[in-house]
């Protein structure tokens, strides 16, 4: 029999991983369609949490209402974000621009700029401290599974992540809109020639991805009972890492890697020390990339 101590640590590592996964799903979806890193995804997560907070303090609706309202809000947020930070850069359709690094990284910077404005704005509006939440909304009631203790939030977040992943896989593999998303991601110009409304597809993807990001924000906010303007930063980076480790285009891959990342951090705390956990997680990433230069589930480079 394994020492329950290790079981408990595994469970904690996994629950950490599920949180990263929740964030990574939306992040990967958005990266997929435009092939640019959306630096503002962390802020969508944060704003989602703050929207939930405002809703709770103002109307105190039931939990599910909060969740769905935040999802809807997230979708709207994604729409706005795409319009402001990404769409303007698609006005250049000549080849030099399409293949230019400068143009690609400028989109990255526009999302960074938006994220700065949003985060600083939140700090001015709410202060940078953690916000207090009504305790009955928190999803952290302990559940004992034999020697292992988890909390309600672990179950909820796991369920939500599973539903998101399943739903998204179905959407991408089985539906027309999913096929369009993949087509735009593979070749945006080609997509125009086959009659895909690329703008709408991109906006839909942003709305979907941001919806998931905002949902993740409020869930994790309620899980830890901690909502503050900088909360999106760490999960944002971890989601980015998980996505790349998984091979960019594969959402299940990103999820698996997010779990691995969470686990490796948990194990690092167990066997080494909490402050070295990052070292282990990033070391793990580097080793993975040395052996799988295209991520664990990535496609190879195109042929010459």
């Amino acid at each position: 029999m394994i020492d329950p101590y290790y079981l408990q640590q595994l469970a904690i590592g996994l629950s950490q991983g599920v949180i990263y996964a929740l964030m990574a799903i939306g992040f990967t979806l958005i990266f997929g369609v435009l092939n640019v890193v959306n630096f503002a995804h962390g802020e969508v997560y944060t704003v989602g949490a703050f929207a939930g907070l405002l809703l709770i303090t103002a109307f105190a609706p039931p939990f599910l209402v909060v969740l769905f309202a935040v999802l809807a809000f997230g979708a709207a947020l994604g729409f706005g974000l795409e319009r402001i930070a990404f769409k303007p850069f698609r006005r250049f359709s000549d080849e030099a621009s399409l293949k230019s690094r400068a143009m690609r990284e400028s989109t990255l910077m526009s999302s960074l700029a938006v994220s700065i404005v949003v985060r600083e704005g939140l700090e001015i509006g709410f202060g940078s401290q953690m916000q207090t939440l009504p305790f009955d909304y928190l999803i952290n009631k302990p559940i004992e599974l034999g020697p292992v203790t988890i909390v309600t939030g672990d179950v909820i977040i796991f369920a939500v992540a599973a539903v998101m992943l399943g739903g998204l896989q179905y959407l991408l593999k089985r539906t027309r809109i999913g096929l369009s998303i993949r087509a735009v991601s593979a070749n945006p110009l080609g997509a125009k020639y086959v009659g895909i409304d690329t703008d709408r597809t991109i906006i839909t993807t942003f709305a979907l991805g941001s919806m998931m990001g905002a949902g993740a924000g409020i869930l994790v906010g309620l899980y830890y009972g901690a909502i503050f303007p900088a909360m999106g930063f760490v999960p944002g980076i971890k989601a980015f890492v998980a996505m790349v480790m998984g091979g960019l285009s594969s959402i299940p891959g990103a999820v698996v890697c997010a779990l691995l990342l969470g686990l490796s951090e948990g194990l690092a705390t167990t066997f080494i020390s909490s402050n070295w956990a990052d070292m282990v997680a990033y070391g793990f990433l580097i080793v993975t990339l040395i052996f799988f230069p295209q991520g664990l589930f990535g496609a190879g480079r195109e042929r010459v």
């Binding site: 000549d94 080849e95 030099a96 293949k99 230019s100 690094r101 010459v304």
Partner: protein, 250 residues
């Protein structure tokens, strides 16, 4: 000793045998054509020779030395340069800079030399670049961004870049694609003049006028196998080639 010897070269992709035990060679000064139906394995064979795809089996020797397993840039440094079927110019660089990369690749330029080096080296690279540019007639657009060139000019740009390396063997993958008949005729003259200066050339082409008109020998692939290797006239008459590739004679 031949310039390039290809021996029993095979390449498999999963279950598909893209190149299947091909043996042939290119003599110094020769102009060899490589033809075959779409998907016959021509580009794959070029990738095998130039080091982009590892061999499943067989051997490739260049100037008598085995080159399989070498990185593309090592092979290029030995004097073999190539163009690509899907044009691959450097879009956000000027035409001049594009071509200079070939010269730099061949002549080498270290970080140290770039900072403290003498002017002579840069001048030599510059001269070589101009020479290649003038050779293909792109001198006038040297400062334009490559992305703004039309398709045809890009083809010449690729050739210029390869020429700037001063190769001994030039490998051209469908150089005439996208050119009209009179442009193709110009290209044919151009390739022949290159060959006349002693450059060995191997080219893939679907334009039979070009291939039959300038090649001294034609190799035919079909489904990865070599089905003919002879003078143009003989290939043109080969029933197997007619069947697999040419269809009814034009």
């Amino acid at each position: 000793m031949s310039l390039l010897e290809i021996e029993n070269v095979t390449r498999r992709f999963g279950g598909l045998v893209a190149v299947d035990g091909v043996t042939t060679r290119v003599e110094a000064g020769e102009l060899v054509g490589l033809i075959g139906p779409n998907g016959a394995g021509k580009t794959t064979l070029f990738n095998l020779i130039s080091g982009f795809t590892p061999l499943s089996a067989g051997a490739v020797r260049f100037k008598g030395e085995p080159i399989q397993g070498l990185k593309p840039h090592r092979i290029a440094a030995r004097g073999m340069s190539r163009t690509f079927q899907n044009l691959r110019v450097f879009p956000n660089m000027s035409v001049f800079d594009n071509v200079s990369v070939g010269a730099v690749g061949a002549m080498g330029q270290s970080a140290f030399a770039a900072v403290f080096g003498r002017r002579a080296r840069a001048d030599a690279i510059s001269a070589r670049t101009w020479e290649a540019l003038e050779r293909v007639g792109l001198g006038g657009v040297a400062e334009d961004l490559a992305a703004n060139l039309s398709y045809g000019k890009r083809k010449y740009l690729e050739i210029a870049r390869a020429l700037a390396m001063k190769p001994e063997l030039l490998i051209l993958d469908e150089p005439a694609a996208g050119l009209n008949d009179s442009e193709t005729a110009d290209l044919a003259r151009f390739i022949r003049s290159l060959n006349g200066e002693g450059l060995s050339i191997m080219l893939v082409e679907h334009d039979m006028n070009l291939v039959m008109g300038i090649c001294s020998r034609v190799v035919v692939l079909a489904s990865g196998r070599k089905i003919a290797d002879a003078e143009p006239a003989a290939v043109r008459a080969d029933p197997a080639v007619l069947e697999a590739y040419l269809g009814v004679d034009e």
